[in-house]
């Protein structure tokens, strides 16, 4: 197998950069590019060495700590070298390039984890969880990924599958041994139980997806109501250019904030206005696109000005989104503002002196976070599979009176096949074994 290498820290985050090399040539490559007290090829396994990385001409690229881990007790079960450096992206890239020049191949996304999976170190759900940990954007998402890694999702699915197995056993006994006097259990309540469990997982999945992928809120409003000021206050640093002239923000600007573990993407947009200027028009189109693609809207008003019909019209057009109405400039004299027939939270804030800015983040998290359900499912694949299983269960429940046992069994087996895609399989043999251990069969 090829020796692979990649930068294994996310770009732009954290002070440390790590390059990981895995495969049979990892040590040889380290020997060529590392200069320290000891040659990596002669070092003991699981040791760390200080030294410098040189390129092919012998020029020093950077100082580093070199970790040597020999097979088989490594993540991929192959010889693994990790180079830790304390500087930015440029030396990191230069080192990677040198590694590649010396015989490694750039790893495909997730290839280290795939090798770990192929080597039998982790199962499928665990492999996916590892990828999530690597990509986790926040604390909560990380906890969820770790839960998956520990097999909590697998446990849930296994319990569900055991329930389905019991249902199938009863149905199949009814079909295969109808000549015999066997009392089978009523499967209707069991089916409903399964449906409830799947639904719970699915509800938690929405949460899970949210935690993993984060939530997007777009700031909109007329020009010069202070969108960029609020945007900057929320970020705590000046990222958007703020002037007192209307229309300064022509493009959309994005930034990530972490609200107590929830990754929040904020999009600052160009102020809404009617315009003929082609540049402004492009900005307006981007604003519309941002509105369409975001989960929620921060609708910014100028507290010193009256709410117009145009505002109400716009509010109506986005009523299927989560909206928070924010009245900025409340430090200036203003009247109490009321908008009738809207359930959105209202906040009076001042970007200038910071009044109530923290409330904005609280309102957002209140709007999107469901507290009591532990999130377990986040992968699209898991959600789709659960939904497919749910559909079959639904068909079975609605067909309890009308469908023949063979068709009921078909639906339920399909549900169980779906779940099996997540973990192991229920084979025909397992069903028969179950029948024989539960019922007294045989003429």
């Amino acid at each position: 197998m090829d020796t692979i290498a990649a930068i294994s820290t996310p770009s732009g985050e954290g002070g440390i950069g790590i390059i990981r090399i895995s495969g049979s040539k990892a040590l040889k490559i380290a020997d060529k590019i590392f200069k320290g007290k000891i040659k990596p090829g002669l070092a003991k396994t699981h040791t760390i060495h200080y030294g410098k990385i040189i390129d092919n001409t012998g020029k020093k690229i950077d100082e580093c700590l070199l970790m040597i881990m020999l097979k088989p007790h490594t993540y991929t079960t192959e010889d693994t070298i990790e180079i830790n450096i304390h500087s930015g992206i440029v030396p990191l890239r230069n080192i990677l390039e040198t590694v590649l020049k010396n015989g490694a191949r750039l790893a495909e996304p997730g290839e280290f984890t795939r090798r770990a999976f192929m080597a039998g170190k982790i199962d499928l759900i665990q492999a996916e969880a590892v990828l999530d940990i690597i990509q986790a954007k926040s604390e909560k998402a990380l906890t969820m990924a770790i839960n998956q890694l520990e097999g909590k999702l697998s446990d849930h699915i296994k319990k569900l599958k055991n329930k389905l197995l019991k249902i199938i056993t009863n149905l199949e006994t009814d079909i295969e041994f109808s000549e015999e006097e066997i009392k089978i259990q009523n499967i209707s309540p069991m089916l409903k139980e399964v449906q409830q469990s799947i639904n719970k997982l699915l509800i938690s999945s929405k949460q899970g997806k949210l935690l993993k992928e984060g939530v997007t809120f777009t700031l909109i409003g007329k020009t010069n109501v202070g969108k960029s000021s609020i945007f900057n206050s929320l970020l705590g640093k000046e990222q958007a250019i703020v002037t007192k002239y209307p229309g300064t923000t022509r493009d959309t600007i994005e930034a990530w904030v972490d609200i107590k573990g929830l990754p929040l993407k904020l999009i600052d947009t160009a102020g809404l206005m009617t315009t003929n200027n082609p540049m402004d028009m492009a900005g307006q189109q981007r604003t519309q696109k941002a509105i369409r693609e975001s989960d929620g809207i921060l609708f910014i008003f100028d507290a010193t000005k009256a709410v117009t019909k145009g505002d109400i019209h716009l509010l109506t057009s986005i009523k299927d989104k989560k909206v928070i109405c924010i009245f900025n400039k409340c430090d200036l004299p203003h009247q109490k503002i009321v908008i009738k027939n809207f359930n959105s939270p209202f906040l009076s804030v001042s970007a200038l002196n910071g009044t109530n800015i923290d409330l904005i983040l609280k309102s957002i998290s209140k709007l999107v976070i469901l507290d009591n359900i532990p999130p377990l499912v986040s992968k699209i694949r898991h959600i789709e599979t659960l939904e497919k299983a749910n559909l079959s269960i639904k068909k079975a429940i609605s067909g309890m009176k009308n469908l023949t046992p063979e068709c009921l069994a078909y639906e339920i087996k399909e549900a169980s096949t779906c779940l099996s895609e997540l973990t192991g399989e229920i084979t025909n043999e397992i069903i028969l074994n179950q029948i024989f251990s539960e019922f007294c069969i045989g003429k």
Binding site: E172, I175, E176, T404, P405, A409, T427, K443
Partner: protein, 619 residues
């Protein structure tokens, strides 16, 4: 010395189908049997078909086999089982006259062109191997010292391989009550390198019908409607003999539990493994102590005999205990035993040693079929005989082997299961083994399989055309159902009568028939007259339309993974991360496709993914 194209060893249900298929496909065939007079014998209960098994009979019949026709001729009453469970798992069962079945089969065997029968015990398989090539079977040696040579050999020895009968603590070598076993052949198979196992099966006592008080039993009458297994059966109004049902009770249980020490099963004498779906009455009493009442079916053995079979109380207890416990059962208080029940242990060849064609993996041109492969049941045996016979003939003609896929026939599932699964108990067919059972009902076996029978020359063109005509006419009637509009005023009274929602606007007959509570007979008056054969097919198409579509989509998906081949001689130990259990099983069973690998017990989906990546990489 005579040289044959094919030698079939054994004249049971597998042997008969194998010999008939081979000889009818033009092979000069020799059947060797221990006893000419027991060819076609029903060793256990006198009935054919039933759940999961009728499907096999219909399929063998569609391929051009004999079991269906002979069952029809010998039938003394039919019942359709599972009518409320759905059209696909509905199964026909017939009580048959044991003597008539045997005699009818013997008549056919003895009058088939190219087929020679000889009463001889085969004791050794002769093989040859040129250097560097596989071992190849070329003939058999008989007990009388004769050598018979042939291009292909099919072994169908049933329970006779090293058979050992147990009644109480006494036991003696035998192949079936009153018949000699076949011991040396078992050694010959071992010498050739086959791994053998040991199984156990049992049968219950046959009693004198004149000593039964039927007033204390429940009569179970056959269906009034005429039925048939075979497409060749024209008119069928058998002499109807009812069966009777009675029950064991707490006294029966007490006697059996008290006498366990004289049971060979519970005193450790019997080592072979019995089937869980067909337990002895001893087993039932021990394993399910809380259940004190078990059904007993009294099945007549035939029209001109007083012998009858007690289904449900198979036993290997001593004769006196058998009599004692039978006397506790209502209706059987004074019953007289004609032949006692017994258990039989026998050798079988672990079936993973054959390909789905039933040719063995280690000896070329050697085929195995029936109980020798660890199955139980007449229908399972006949199905394998059919496959082995056809494949032996194809082999001689230099044509590719015939392997039915799992989604096309129960027979396909049977052959595939045998060649990939480890058998821990006698294998019988269940509809739940068949993942695509919804599209494999017994009524359409002819549509599915007659084309193969025709190609092999086992189904005459005339019969094939008849089926095609039927299929076409069903298609026409289906279109008619879709185009026939029913007005509310004409259909609503019928709907109301059957507790179905009335309609407001006109609706097609097709849509109305889709309702589960509506049967085709209820709307027959609005469409052109249908015969019984068309009715069931039409109703199936209408009611199962959605499922048929879903199944075909699944089959397509299945085909893709099925076509992912694993090269011969592939080293599974080289696949990184494969669990040890998976490695061992895969190396032993040698699946030829990824899908087959998937079906092996103990191989997990993570193993399959690892295998898939490795295969992909090596391509």
């Amino acid at each position: 010395m005579d040289k044959f194209d094919c030698i079939v060893v054994g004249g049971g249900h597998a042997g008969c189908e194998a010999a008939l298929a081979a000889s009818r496909m033009g092979l000069n065939t020799l059947m060797l049997t221990l006893n000419l007079d027991t060819i076609g014998q029903l060793s256990c209960n006198p009935s054919m078909g039933g759940l999961g098994k009728s499907q096999l009979i219909f399929e063998v019949d569609a391929l051009g086999g004999e079991i269906g026709l002979v069952s029809d001729i010998a039938s003394i009453g039919y019942r359709v089982l599972n009518t409320k469970k759905g059209l696909a798992v509905q199964s026909l069962r017939a009580q048959v006259d044991r003597k008539k079945y045997r005699e009818t089969m013997q008549k056919i065997i003895l009058n088939t062109e190219n087929l020679h029968v000889q009463q001889e015990e085969a004791i050794e398989i002769i093989t040859t191997s040129k250097k560097g090539t596989e071992k190849c079977a070329i003939g058999v040696v008989s007990a009388s010292g004769m050598e018979y040579f042939a291009n292909t050999i099919i072994i169908t020895t049933g329970t006779f391989l090293n058979g050992l009968i147990h009644i109480g603590l006494k036991n003696y070598p035998s192949g079936r009550m009153g018949e000699l076993p076949s011991t040396e052949l078992s050694n010959s198979l071992k010498k050739l390198g086959f791994q053998l196992g040991r199984l156990k099966t049992g049968t219950s006592a046959r009693v004198d019908i004149r000593t039964i008080d039927f007033d204390k039993t429940i009569e179970q009458s056959p269906d009034k409607k005429a039925h048939r297994f075979s497409h060749r059966t024209k008119k069928n109004n058998p002499t109807a003999c009812p069966c009777y049902i009675t029950h064991t009770n707490i006294l029966t249980q007490k006697i059996i539990l008290q006498n366990l020490k004289s049971s060979p099963l519970y005193s450790g004498i019997i080592k072979g493994i019995g089937a869980r779906y067909c337990p002895s009455i001893e087993d039932k009493c021990v394993r399910f102590k809380e259940k004190t009442s078990h059904q007993v079916f009294i099945e007549p053995d035939g029209v001109d005999t007083n012998e009858c079979y007690l289904n449900g109380v198979s036993t290997s207890l001593p004769e006196t205990v058998q009599l004692d416990f039978l006397h506790t059962i209502p209706g059987l208080e004074k019953v007289r035993i004609i032949r006692p029940g017994y258990a039989i242990e026998y050798d079988f060849v672990l079936p993973v040693q054959v390909y789905p064609s039933l040719e063995t993996k280690i000896i070329k041109n050697l085929y195995l079929a029936g109980q020798i492969l660890g199955t139980s049941g007449y229908e399972e045996a006949a199905s394998q005989g059919m496959i082995a016979g056809i494949n032996a003939a194809l082999k001689v003609k230099g044509k590719p082997q015939f392997i039915l896929p799992r989604y096309e026939a129960y027979i396909g599932v049977l052959a595939d299961d045998l060649s990939t699964k480890e058998i821990l108990e006698p294998y019988r067919m269940f509809t739940s083994r068949v993942e695509h059972r919804l599209i494999l009902p017994e009524h359409n076996a002819d549509e599915r399989l007659m084309k193969y029978g025709l190609a092999f020359g086992l189904i005459p063109k005339k019969e094939y055309n008849k089926t095609q005509k039927l299929v076409e006419s069903v298609k026409v009637k289906l279109r008619e159902l879709k185009s026939t509009q029913l007005k509310p005023e004409s259909i609503n009274p019928i709907l109301k009568e059957n507790n179905s929602m009335p309609i407001a606007k006109s609706s097609s007959a097709f849509q109305i028939l889709k309702r589960p509570e509506i049967k085709i007979e209820m709307i027959e008056q609005f469409i052109e007259k249908l015969n019984g054969n068309e009715k069931i097919r039409l109703e199936f198409f209408v009611k199962y339309e959605g499922y048929i579509k879903r199944e075909h989509a699944l089959v397509k998906k299945f085909n893709e993974s099925e076509s992912y081949e694993i090269p011969q001689g592939f080293d599974f130990y080289k696949v990184k991360g494969l669990s040890r259990e998976a490695c061992e099983k895969l190396s032993k069973i040698k699946p030829v496709t990824l899908a087959q690998a998937k079906r092996i017990g103990g191989v997990r989906s993570a193993d399959i993914i690892r295998l898939f990546f490795t295969l992909k990489k090596s391509q």
